[in-house]
Subunit: 414 residues, 2 copies
């Protein structure tokens, strides 16, 4: 079967899925979760072949960690599917309805996008996450995971398709590109009108390559240069706790803090203590001149540091005059991903929320909350830093669009 034929089958299947009632979709998802757990030995057996090959190829420990399935990660996958099952069904929701002067009753009803193409790297859990979000939102899905996880992904998809078949749904609702060739991705990205949206998940290189090639709209997120601004009135204990969490809890992810902005009035008090704590966590600081006048041991931050997404235990630090300079810095150097202010000042909190147009803007909370689960969307299918269609973490609602439904009683246009 070519990728095109696969996609056409998925489009066809998506029409059935779009009409499938919520209770049936939820039952299918719960059965899938159970089956994934029951079949853990089969999944681990297939996964171990992938892992073995990855080791032989000399993949990094981080990559191998991401790739490896264990009873715990499998049970987390199943739990994720159950949580998606428990979410409200977005399909068919009337988000608003109003009456026109001529009596027409006009509403907007959520409907699935159609077919979603997911291109991702070596994390097998994305397979079950993406499939469950697409089933829930009534979309067909075409999965194209990294070649390192091919056997693991295939095993997962086979289990999901077994359940679909048993439940009388077309197995093409969840399709997997059956080859690891790069040409298959290129072929996929040509299928405008069959695949409705492409969501690449992975490093910036993968995403740029997909955007450059695709004829299909892509929902993407290049990078996260996230800021925390510690305002003059900040509770410095809170500020320290938030900064450490934002930088250290998981430094390799897109919602980790990359630049710390500190109000000049608290710089002398705050910088020494945060520097000490971050040093305990092996964080390397790179500072502006004012920072270095307070912390002489700190390396100089160069212009490129303000743009940097380190994804590592490195932090750029800048002392600013106040809120205006903080907002201007974020506007110039940020990536419109996630930014946070720590403050006790009401007006500065509100102004920061208004004036920073990043996808997630927080007051007195860690940037690490910029995540579909954490914000309460249920699972997330990805994150968008472009403003079209979705901005920020995307859940099941972002996998739908709305159509206008109009109830009339014979109206014609004059």
């Amino acid at each position: 079967m070519t990728v095109r034929e696969l996609a056409i089958a998925t489009k066809e299947a998506s029409r059935t899925l779009a009409k499938t009632p919520s209770d049936k979709k939820d039952r299918v998802l719960r059965t899938m979760a159970q089956r994934i757990e029951d079949e853990a030995p089969r999944l681990i057996a297939e996964n171990s072949k992938d892992v073995e090959e990855a080791r032989a190829k000399g993949l990094s420990k981080v990559m191998i960690d991401r790739l490896t399935l264990t009873p715990k990660t499998i049970s987390e996958m199943a739990q994720g599917m159950r949580e998606v099952a428990a979410l409200p069904d977005p399909v068919g929701q009337i988000v608003r309805m109003w009456r026109r002067p001529n009596g027409l009753l006009v509403g907007r009803m959520r409907i699935p996008l159609g077919v979603v193409g997911i291109i991702y790297e070596a994390r097998p859990n994305v397979t079950s996450d993406a499939a469950s979000l697409c089933i829930k939102s009534g979309n067909g899905v075409i999965l194209r995971g990294g070649s390192e996880a091919f056997r693991s992904n295939l095993a997962i998809v086979q289990i999901l398709q077994e359940v679909l078949r048993e439940e009388g749904l077309p197995e093409a609702c969840v399709s997997m590109v059956p080859t690891t060739s790069r040409e298959a991705v290129a072929e996929m990205l040509e299928l405008e009108g069959i695949i409705d949206v492409i969501i690449p998940r992975g490093g910036e290189d993968l995403i740029r390559a997909v955007v450059a090639q695709s004829k299909i709209p892509v929902i993407k997120h290049y990078k996260g240069v996230c800021h925390v601004f510690v305002d003059a009135s900040a509770d410095l204990d809170m500020a320290e706790k938030i900064c450490v969490n934002a930088k250290v809890q998981r430094p390799a992810v897109c919602n980790a803090m990359e630049t710390l902005l500190v109000h000049k009035d608290v710089a002398e008090k705050f910088l020494p203590r945060i520097a000490k704590t971050l040093e305990d966590f092996q964080v390397e600081l790179r500072g502006c001149d004012v920072t270095r006048s307070i912390l002489p041991q700190v390396k100089e931050a160069k212009e490129e540091d303000w743009y940097a997404e380190y994804n590592d235990l490195i932090l750029a630090v800048k002392v600013v005059e106040g809120l205006d300079e903080a907002v201007a810095h974020i506007t110039k150097y940020g990536s419109e991903h996630t930014d946070s202010i720590v403050t006790r000042d009401y007006s500065n909190a509100q102004r920061f929320l208004q004036e920073v147009n990043s996808s997630v803007v927080l007051v007195n909370a860690s940037t690490r909350f910029s995540d579909g689960f954490q914000l309460g969307l249920g699972a997330e299918i990805g994150i968008s830093t472009t403003k079209l269609h979705a901005f920020g973490p995307m859940g099941v609602e972002e996998l739908t669009t709305t159509k206008f439904v109009v109830y009339g009683d014979g109206q014609i246009r004059e």
Copy 2:
């Protein structure tokens, strides 16, 4: 000034506009409306040069009609701006807000997209429509109208910029590409990251050319192959009224009916009467075999007729077995634009609304209501038949996105 410099100035200006309060934006729009009316003689003088040149070039009467400004069309432009001023401001609206178990208060706030690029043909009224919708929604706009209307558009934009200046807003909020060269369009479509979205308005050729070239997301609408399905239970008087309105009231537009589907149980009764009425309006019919057995004078519809957007007084007619066949026909041949059912059957009405996934689906009303004004969005900036970001007529809300705003009190992620 290059197109790139112009776009950068507009991006910069858009940041000011994004922060401008509603009452100021509305005052600016009302002042602009007044000024457009006051300056009618200046507009008509400039416009008459465009019209003269268009006549010399031998442009069609339809094109010249669209191009020509009169005191009446100018007053309609001004009225359009006042209506946009009267709409609710989408910017800053919190569309939903909820509390997380850890106490975080999470909301979604509407914000402008940034800079909107409009590429259109020879209708000067699009200039004021697009500018007012963009100002209302806090977006900068870069206008690139047809070369035939260059002087008219320039005069309109100059008036709008005069008002912006007087009100202390950057005039680059509303920019016009200052040349009629084709290269300028190509340059515009390269400006990913500066222009946030491109909206082409015009014929399918224009739109396809823009999509092929653009690196910026494009919101587009290729064509409207709209259907009316007359069900077995339809009130045939109502059906006739709706069909005539949908076909004849303005046949050249995208929401006019192109194919009539008739339930077999009423075909013998309905087809002769609708054929007679449509013949009075000079509509040419092209029918399926069953249609032609009832109306022998009707030409045969070929396969390509079911896909056709005639934009003319031609109508394809097909007799179907029932709702299922009607929906299947619309799914196969339609353009996901606008489709209507005429019925007295409750269940068929609900099923049609559910199962036809076009951007506008109507019961017992003319397809001609598929329009931003008619559906109650206020003015419309365009119509989208792709499902990403917007689907169907787009008003000011569709010129915004939402960011997440999060109120915390020291939360960190465990």
